[in-house]
Every structure is written in structure tokens, then in C-alpha cells.
């Protein structure tokens, strides 16, 4: 696809060019502090690299040396979130979760990099593996209403794919995510994400275009360097009243699948959420209704397979610390659309404080193979460290 590659290069080049004016700006002047702070302690003397020293040949001259105390104020905001999961009941499928597990431990490091950018890292330790769930820089000072993220990210495909485990209203991801959108890990890869706002009177409108290396476990793999994954998303939002609103979007993703090097998987997604939260009683009552629909087209031996999956979920907060919810699941499987998994869940969540949650989920699943599972899943979520913000 030579012309496509050219388009992409032009796009990336133009995005780099567009950033130039922002970089050329003088940094914004810092807000004057009310009282003059005491002189910071004198920095330690710079270390000279002697010319000809071992390892010389690189840049010589003073190296920055980090002072023992003065650098602490620039430490990023650090938080750790524990996600403990348990399961009771019968599930003979290969997707059954363990009886008790420390499902995930997530450490986040977040700070402003410089006047032009901020960085967010989310390191995840699950079972015996550690990894970077996300780690990216966000350029916040680009012109033309652009926002550029570079790093490893959860792709902007639909809603669930962008959610970390601990912000989901359920203990696990819906069947459609597991069957069609790469499971728990989802579309999560190294790449670039460029998004733009389109200010207008009618509705919030945001367009996002992303390009990734092409490797998302369970979904995409890139035998060759050029086998990239592309993701696009258009998101709309509109306030209905001061207490209610509609959030909707359409997404697209394409990458090479694991069937054979030349085979691709293409996903289309639609999502819709209605939220109601009366401002005067915002800490006591809210209702969220949401759904996502995903169409998958997977090329493989014997021709492409078209599969469809969806979930519908409702969550209602009925007291300051209590949420109830239901979710219905239905999804065909990406490799064989005649296999259909179905599920229904009821949930109850209790928040002792803003920093911990206890959740129970009764889940009934009918797997395509004819297996039936009735389970009670329970979850403890707990967070220490910096006060995180709640994304919408």
C-alpha cells in the first residue's frame, strides 16, 4: 500500500511540523509565589567527565547531578491500586478464573513533564508477570486543537478497551471484549495517537487517529515492520439537561491477525451511554446506561468470518456508598461466528470510601460449547497514594 504509507508519513510529518510553533514559544511565565521562598540549597558542583576517560567519546562536559533533597518536589504523583478477585461456583470452561487471586497490582506515576507535555505511566503486575499497561507522553500545547500521545497505550476503540480494570463497573470484561476485541489486554500497543477537537455550538466532537506497531496479544500481530494497526474514533457528547447527557461514538480498528501473515482483522464499533446525575444529590444518586456493539471481520483460511457481539449495562447508585447493576452479554466468536456465548450478570458494589470498593457479581454464562456456568465473583479494589481523578 505505497500511497497509504505516503499518506501516513505526510500526516506524521505535518503533525510534527504543526508542533513547531508551540515549541518555539517562550515557556509560560511561572505564577509568582505569594511569599518569596527561601533560597534553595546550592546545587552540588557539576561533575566533569575527564577527556579520554573510559567510556568517553560521547558528549563531554558537565553532567547533571541530582541533589539529594531538592528533586523530591518533582517526584511524580504515585499511586498503587490493588485488584483482588475471587470466584465461587461452577465454571468448566477454559475461561474460568481462579478461586482467589491477586488479579492485578497497578502502580501509576504521573507528572507534568515541561510546559508542553505531561506523562503518565501505569505499571501492572498480574500473577507472576510485570509489564507496562500504559506509558505515554501527552503534548498539551499543540496548535489547531490537537492532542498528541506517544507511547504504549490502550487504543481509543470504544469504551471498554480504554478502561483500566479498576475503573470498570464490573469485575471482568464483557464477553464481546473477550471474543472480539483482544480480551483483558485488548488493543494495547506502542504507537501514536493524534486527536482533534471540533468546537461548535451543537455538540462535543472529537476525532482520533492512531497508529500502532501492530501487536496486541490475542488480536493483532505484525510479521513485518509495515504491518501496523490503525485505529480511528469519532466521539460525540451532548448535555441534555444539567443532570443528564448522552455520550456516543464510532470506532474502527484494523491489523494483521494470527491466521497467516497476509490475513487481517477489521473491527467496527459503536458505543452509546446515557448518564443521569442530579447535581444537588450528585454524591447519592446516579444512573448510567451503556452499550457497545462490535462487528468483526477476520480473514482466515476458508474466507473471512464476520462476527458480532454486544453488551448492555445499567448501573444505579441508590445510596452514597451503594451501586447496583446488571449486564447482558452476547457475542459470536471471531474465528467461528456460529459459536455464540451469552451471559447475564447482576452486581452490587459497596464503597467504604473513595479509595476502596467491594463488589459482588453473580454471573450466568452459556458458552457456545454448551457449557453452563453459574458463578459468584467478588472483588476488592483498594488504592493508596495520590488522589486520582475520575475520568468521564
Amino acid at each position: 500500500m505505497p500511497s497509504f504509507d505516503r499518506t501516513l508519513r505526510l500526516l506524521l510529518l505535518s503533525s510534527v511540523l504543526l508542533t513547531t510553533p508551540a515549541w518555539a514559544q517562550t515557556p509560560p511565565e511561572p505564577t509568582p509565589s505569594p511569599t518569596p521562598s527561601p533560597e534553595p540549597p546550592a546545587p552540588p558542583p557539576p561533575v566533569e567527565v575527564p577527556p579520554g576517560a573510559a567510556g568517553a567519546g560521547g558528549p563531554s562536559g558537565p553532567l547533571p547531578v541530582y541533589g539529594p533533597a531538592s528533586s523530591k518536589v518533582f517526584n511524580p504523583d504515585i499511586a498503587v491500586i490493588g485488584d483482588f478477585l475471587g470466584a465461587i461456583g461452577k465454571n468448566d470452561s477454559d475461561r474460568a478464573t481462579p478461586s482467589l487471586e491477586m488479579h492485578e497490582t497497578e502502580a501509576s506515576f504521573q507528572a507534568i513533564v515541561d510546559p508542553y507535555a505531561r506523562a503518565d505511566f501505569f505499571l501492572v503486575f498480574a500473577r507472576d508477570e510485570g509489564g507496562v499497561e500504559e506509558g505515554f507522553i501527552t503534548f498539551t500545547s499543540l496548535p489547531a486543537n490537537l492532542l498528541l500521545k506517544v507511547g504504549k497505550m490502550r487504543a481509543s476503540f470504544g469504551k471498554v478497551n480504554q478502561m483500566h480494570n479498576h475503573v470498570m463497573p464490573w469485575t471482568e470484561r464483557p464477553l464481546v471484549t473477550q471474543n472480539l476485541v483482544g480480551g483483558e489486554e485488548g488493543i494495547s500497543d506502542a504507537g501514536l495517537s493524534l486527536s482533534r477537537l471540533f468546537p461548535n455550538e451543537l455538540l462535543f466532537l472529537e476525532a482520533t487517529a492512531e497508529v500502532y506497531r501492530g501487536v496486541s496479544p490475542e488480536l493483532f500481530r505484525a510479521p513485518k515492520r509495515g504491518d501496523l494497526t490503525y485505529v480511528g474514533r469519532l466521539r460525540g457528547y451532548r448535555d441534555i439537561t444539567e443532570s443528564s447527557n448522552l455520550d456516543f461514538g464510532g470506532s474502527f480498528a484494523q491489523g494483521h491477525n494470527d491466521a497467516a501473515p497476509e490475513f487481517k482483522t477489521r473491527l467496527f464499533g459503536a458505543d452509546l451511554a446515557f448518564r443521569w446525575r442530579p447535581l444537588r444529590r450528585a454524591i447519592y444518586k446516579r444512573l448510567i446506561l451503556r452499550t457497545e456493539l462490535v462487528w468483526s471481520r477476520r480473514e482466515q483460511e476458508g474466507g473471512p468470518v464476520r462476527a458480532f457481539g454486544t453488551y448492555v449495562s445499567g448501573e444505579y447508585q441508590f445510596a452514597r456508598r451503594w451501586f447496583g447493576g446488571v449486564r447482558l452479554d452476547r457475542s459470536e466468536r471471531a474465528g467461528d461466528a456460529s459459536l455464540v456465548d451469552k451471559g447475564a450478570s447482576a452486581l452490587l458494589t459497596y464503597w467504604p470510601s473513595e479509595f476502596s470498593q467491594v463488589r459482588g457479581q453473580y454471573r450466568h454464562t452459556r458458552y457456545a460449547e454448551g457449557l453452563r456456568a453459574n458463578e459468584l465473583l467478588f472483588q476488592f479494589l483498594f488504592s493508596i497514594g495520590a488522589h486520582g481523578a475520575h475520568t468521564f
Binding site: P28, S33, T140, D247, R280, R281
Partner: protein
């Protein structure tokens, strides 16, 4: 060769290259996180600014939803004024990040933390942990409830507006002085009517009122919340009732966004009166500006004190 995926995924991006329309010159666009800051900004900026608050005065400012429509408002802002002291920490940072507006990033020319020159109370000393509830490590963020701080906020806003729009410096300065004059007049009035009730003991729902209590001589002896941000518990409520009876406390102040069930049951036990007292402009319809906020609250208190026969 198949161009469809390219068009599908990059179509939105190609539109990106069409730069947005240039912003029209005119009044400065000021966005504030609360209606109190909006009211003070309006006093100083007059018709040289357009002001909009993200939250409403009857809403708990700790728990505002980071709605995408707010991103648009920040996108178009020349100045963002925040209460600071981590009041907005749960919702403002992601909005700023997504605003695509370099001016309103923290430290930017169009970002103002209104708390910097104010008298801040309850700055914790020593080790603090979340066992104390949702404590604000940088001090109590409800500092606008002291009119002296209101004047300091107005001065800070005047400084920022003047830096952004130097041509209107004299206009802002004149309006700021006029605002201070009216606040001073109000203060005299409020202090005079509150004077006979100096030291009156009250209970409040949340720790929203230390600056107000300090200025107007109320003695806050307890809170309906056992700890900041933690909902009432039976054992704490029983202790509070005991303490209120012991000290003969007859007033419970509740912010408009809290449930009245526990305050009402405490009131039944103790014979106290529950007052829904707005801590912000816009908390009641008639509270349309900063001075009316104190007119309303002071009047509410004094009327109640009188009806209870307090001295």
C-alpha cells in the same frame, strides 16, 4: 491495494489539517471552577470579560463530573481560575489535559490558583493519612467564605486580568477597588449583626465553614461527618448527639448538597434546628453575587438565632 482502511482510520485525521477558525477578539473568556470565583471575576472584569463557572453553587465542588462539554469551555478560555488546595483534584486535571489550550495549563499565563494569597486554615501538620478521611494536605479549600479572602481573590484576579489585557488596567483596578469598598461595607454590617451571637456553638455537616466561623465568631464544635468525606456513622452520630446536649448546641449547618436524614434525626434528639446554608453563590436562586452570599447566610443565621432566643 486497499485504501478503505486508510480512509476510515485516517479520515478524521486528515480533517485535522484544516486548522480551526481564529478566535475572535473581544472580551476575555474566563472559566472558573466555582460560582464564587465567577462572581468575583465578574465584579473585577465587568463587561471586558465573559465568565462561566463549571460547577453550580448547589453542587458539591469536590465531586463534579468531568463532562466533555467542560473540555470545550476550557478549550476556548483565556483564563481558568481554580479554587486550588486540591478541591478540584478529582475532576479538573483531566479536563485541563484534554483542553488543547496551552494557556490554561498549570503554570500557564491563563491559569490562576485563587488561593495563593489567601488566609488558609487547617493546613495539616505532622503525619497525615487517609485514616483521617479525605484530608486536604494543602489546607481547607473553603477559604472563600471569609470576605477578607474574597478581597484577596479579587486582587489576584485583577492582577491576572491586567496581565492578559493591559489596556484595561485602569478599568479593572477601579472595579476591584469598588468591589473591596462594597465588601468592607458589607463586613461592617455583617459583623455588627453577628456581634451579639459571638461564640455561638454550631455543628456543621462537612468542614466547609472554618473561615466563615473564624470571621463571624461561630464556634464549630463538631461535624455530622465522622471524618471529611466519610458519610455519617451511627456511633459517631450518637457521640455527636451527646456532645451537642452537653454543650447545648442548637444549630446544625448543612450544605445544600448533603442528605438531610442524619441531620434531621440529630435535630430531633437534641432539639436543634437544621439550617441548609449555601456555601456558594448560586446555592439559592437569590444569591446572585458574592456580597449577597454573605447577606443571605448572615441573615439566615441571625433570624434563626433570634427565633431560638439565643444570646
Amino acid at each position: 491495494m486497499n485504501l478503505r482502511p486508510a480512509i476510515l482510520s485516517l479520515g478524521p485525521a486528515l480533517v485535522l489539517s484544516l486548522a480551526g477558525p481564529a478566535r475572535a477578539a473581544g472580551p476575555l473568556n474566563v472559566v472558573t471552577t466555582t460560582e464564587d470565583l465567577a462572581a468575583i471575576a465578574r465584579e473585577v472584569g465587568g463587561d471586558k470579560i465573559k465568565v462561566e463557572s463549571l460547577s453550580r453553587g448547589y453542587q458539591d465542588p469536590h465531586f463534579v463530573e468531568a463532562k466533555p462539554s467542560f473540555i470545550f469551555k476550557l478549550n476556548n478560555a483565556d483564563l481558568l481560575i481554580a479554587v486550588g488546595r486540591e478541591l478540584e483534584i478529582g475532576w479538573l486535571p483531566p479536563l485541563i489535559t484534554q483542553s488543547r489550550n496551552s494557556k490554561v495549563q498549570p503554570g500557564g499565563a491563563g491559569y490562576l490558583d485563587a488561593s495563593l494569597n489567601c488566609r488558609i486554615l487547617e493546613i495539616p501538620v505532622g503525619q497525615i493519612t487517609r485514616a483521617m478521611g479525605d484530608v486536604h494536605p494543602a489546607g481547607n479549600p473553603h477559604y472563600w467564605l471569609d470576605p477578607e479572602n474574597g478581597k484577596r481573590i479579587a486582587q489576584a484576579i485583577e492582577g491576572k486580568l491586567t496581565a492578559l489585557s493591559p489596556d484595561s488596567a485602569a478599568y479593572f483596578s477601579q472595579r476591584e477597588e469598588d468591589f473591596e469598598r462594597r465588601v468592607n461595607e458589607g463586613l461592617k454590617r455583617w459583623l455588627a449583626v453577628m456581634a451579639p451571637y459571638k461564640g455561638t456553638k454550631v455543628v456543621t455537616y462537612h468542614r466547609s465553614w472554618p473561615n466563615f466561623a473564624e470571621r463571624f465568631g461561630l464556634d464549630v464544635i463538631g461535624y455530622v461527618e465522622p471524618r471529611p468525606g466519610i458519610p455519617p456513622s451511627p456511633s459517631h452520630t450518637l457521640e455527636l448527639i451527646k456532645e451537642m446536649k452537653r454543650l447545648n448546641v442548637k444549630i446544625i449547618l448543612v450544605e445544600p448538597y448533603f442528605d438531610l436524614k442524619t441531620p434531621n434525626s440529630i435535630a430531633r434528639e437534641t432539639g436543634a434546628k437544621v439550617l441548609v446554608m449555601p456555601p456558594s453563590v448560586g446555592g439559592e436562586k437569590e444569591i446572585t453575587d458574592y456580597i449577597k452570599l454573605f447577606d443571605y447566610d448572615v441573615n439566615l443565621l441571625v433570624t434563626t438565632f433570634k427565633s431560638l432566643g439565643l444570646k
